[in-house]
Each structure stands twice: as C-alpha cells, then as structure tokens.
Symmetry: C2
Subunit: 191 residues, 2 copies
DNA sequence: TAACTATACGGAACAATGTTCCGCTTGTCT
DNA sequence: AGACAAGCGGAACATTGTTCCGTATAGTTA
C-alpha cells in the first residue's frame, strides 16, 4: 500500500498555508524571538490563528517544525566530527560548540527548552530524542579513549549546556560557548 | 533629623499586612514555586491583590523581599569561606555550592533570574549587585594564588551557574551542583 | 457545468495571569 | 467626635495561549 494508506490527501490550500506559516514563523522568530505571540505569526502569514492551530496543535509544534532541519543537521554532525578528529574529546568539544551556536542564534529558544516550562514537553522531547543519542556516542568514545570521567550522562550534559545558552543572545559580553567549553574541559580534568 | 525625616510613618494595619504578605508568599512559594499566581498569594494572606501591589510594586519585588535574608547570608559567607580555606579555589568551589543550593531549593527561582525574562529586572539587578562583588573577591583571590584562569568575569560565572540551576528541583537525576563543579574545575585547568 | 460534501478557514470567545484603578473603609490626630 | 490621609478589596483591563463554530471553498461527481 502507498504512503498515504487510510489518510486522505491534504487540500491544496492547506498545503500552501502550511508552508506560508512556516515561512512567517521563521521570519517572526528572527525578528522578535521564539517567544513571539501566535497572533503575530498569524498576522504575518495573513491567516487567522485557528489556521495555525489546525496545522500545529501547539506553539511548540510550530517551533519544532521551523527548526527541524537544523536539529537534524546538528545530529548528523556528531558522527562526522568523530570520524574527522583523532581525539574523541576534541570532537565532543566541537559538537558542543555547534549545539551552542544553534541555540544562541535562536532568540529565546534555549529558554524554552527547560523541561519544567509547561506546554513545551513536545519540544523538549524532540530535542532530547534526536540529540541525546548523538551526544552519548561522543561521550562513550571519549570515555573509551580514557579522556573523560564517565559519571555524567549525555542528557544531563546537554541540559546543562542548553541552560548555559539561556539569554546569551541578549548580551554580547556573556559567552555561552566559553562556559560550555569550561564544562567540557572540567570533564577531562583528572581526579 | 530622625530616620523618618519627611516621610510619615506607616499605619499599623499596613505594617501588619506587609508581614502577613511576606509569610503568605513564602509559604505559597514553598508549596507551588516562585511562579505562583499573585492571586494565590493574596488569597492565602486573606487580602486583595491591590494590597500586594501597594506594598510590592511588582511580583519581582515581593520575591526579592522574601529571599533577601538568604541572599545576604550567601553574600556574607564569601569572605568567611576565604578566611577558612587555605586554597581560594576551594573557597570559591564551596561558595558556588552554597549559591547552587540556595537556587535549587527555591522552586523556579533560577528560571526567573534570566536577564531576558521581562519584568524581573529588579530581581536580577538585586542578585547581581549583592553577589557579584563577593564572587569577584573569590575569583581575584584564586587568580592571585595562580589557581585559575583570569579571563572570566564574576558576572558571567554567576550567570552561568544560575542558568545551570534552572529546572534542577524538578528532576532528581539532574545534578546542578555537579555541573557547576565541573565549571569551576574547568576554570582551574591549565592551557 | 452545477450541485454536493468533506476540508479548511477566520476570528470571536474563553481561560489564566500580571497590573491598574477607584470607591469605600479605617487608623490616627486633634 | 470629626476630619482626612492612608490603606484596602476586588472589579476591570491588557496580554497570552487555545478552543470553537459558523462560513467559505477545493475537489468530486452527476
């Protein structure tokens, strides 16, 4: 059976609107940050708010959709870095830099990733599902090479790094990359 | 002239209400976290919301008032730790532990400390004003002893540590203290 | 092409929350 | 006791995310 078994195809206007919405959201996020009101996105796209919610059940789903590509790219970069670097620890450090750069350039995204932030469980879950395995691979490789401590799980490292990025884009003097780097450096320190 | 020159004394009921409010807020914060709605605090205190806003112009001011004592205690602990420890770096590490413990035990407080979080500038400013000088003192001592890098300002370290604490109380397996410790360890690492 | 129906749409309406406003109450002072 | 500033309660306003439903329309069929 085909790829749409049991599900009717979307109407043409619906498909068009979905793309319009993604573009509008993307633009608004750049202008006003990820916290921008849903209404602003609807206005920019020239549709009603109802239309947004039909396509994306929740604001978080819209955010996920907008950034899916970049998250995938970050995930894909992990194995590549591992292959290109002699030291797994160095690969880890670079991958973390990538992750930090991604978060910092998305006004407010890091702040929303907090697990306790209600209503964004889906966003949180997606990020973790996609990136934690990659981070685990890097950590395991570094551990196997005897470069780091083995008592920190990938989830917690990622969460820590994510937290470090909060508010970074609002203040040039605050260097999230530097702090995340300190974390990774600390991981290598001998007892 | 006396300590109230030019300012009339508060009415007795007003003074009573202020204390009632602080107690109620403190209790509600423990039960429901720092994000608890203003109305809940008003109800618990048995007053109208207007009364809260007359005493504390903004939710942030109420939060500051509730935790002022503990922030002062944390600030005072800095010099003491410096005096009691042979290694300034060790003193710094312990002081950071103190700071982390304070934030983590206040449900949601760390999350609110983010500078970009609008409406909480006063809270943010108070924390920094009071604690950054202490942290600077510790950092300077450690730098003088040649124990750490000197290129990280106290503001940024504190902000990073504060960020690391976000959401920590909601998840037992996430150990903010451990991550903050990693940061401090990383600070000592030689190039 | 003209009707028909499932799909999609717009935006008013609802709920939660911070904050402001104002008519009424109550200490305090004489 | 009377006057009046200080204080109070809570309705009302503004800003969000989200839901709902009457209306419009794309795609299908006669």
């Amino acid at each position: 059976m085909g790829e749409n078994a049991g599900a009717r195809a979307k109407r043409a206007d619906a498909r068009r609107n979905e793309k319009t919405l993604l573009d509008a959201a993307s633009a608004v996020f750049v202008d006003s940050g990820v916290d921008a009101p849903v209404r602003d996105i609807a206005t920019r796209a020239g549709v009603g708010v109802g239309t947004i919610y039909r396509h994306f059940p929740t604001r978080a789903d819209l955010i996920i959709a907008v950034y899916r590509h970049q998250v995938e790219a970050c995930a894909d970069a992990g194995p590549k870095l591992l292959a290109d670097n002699d030291s797994p620890h160095a690969a880890l450090a670079r991958w973390i830099d990538l992750f930090v750069d991604f978060l910092v350039t998305k006004h407010g995204l890091a702040g929303i990733m907090q697990s306790d932030h209600s209503g964004f469980e889906a966003l949180h879950a997606y990020f973790l599902e996609r990136l934690v395995p990659v981070c685990t691979e890097l950590l395991d490789a570094a551990a196997k090479a005897g470069e780091i401590h083995t008592d920190l799980e990938a989830v917690h490292l990622m969460r820590g790094v994510g937290n470090l990025c909060i508010g970074a884009e609002a203040d040039d003097s605050y260097d999230a990359r530097r702090l995340a780097g300190l974390l990774i450096t600390g991981l290598r320190q001998a007892e």
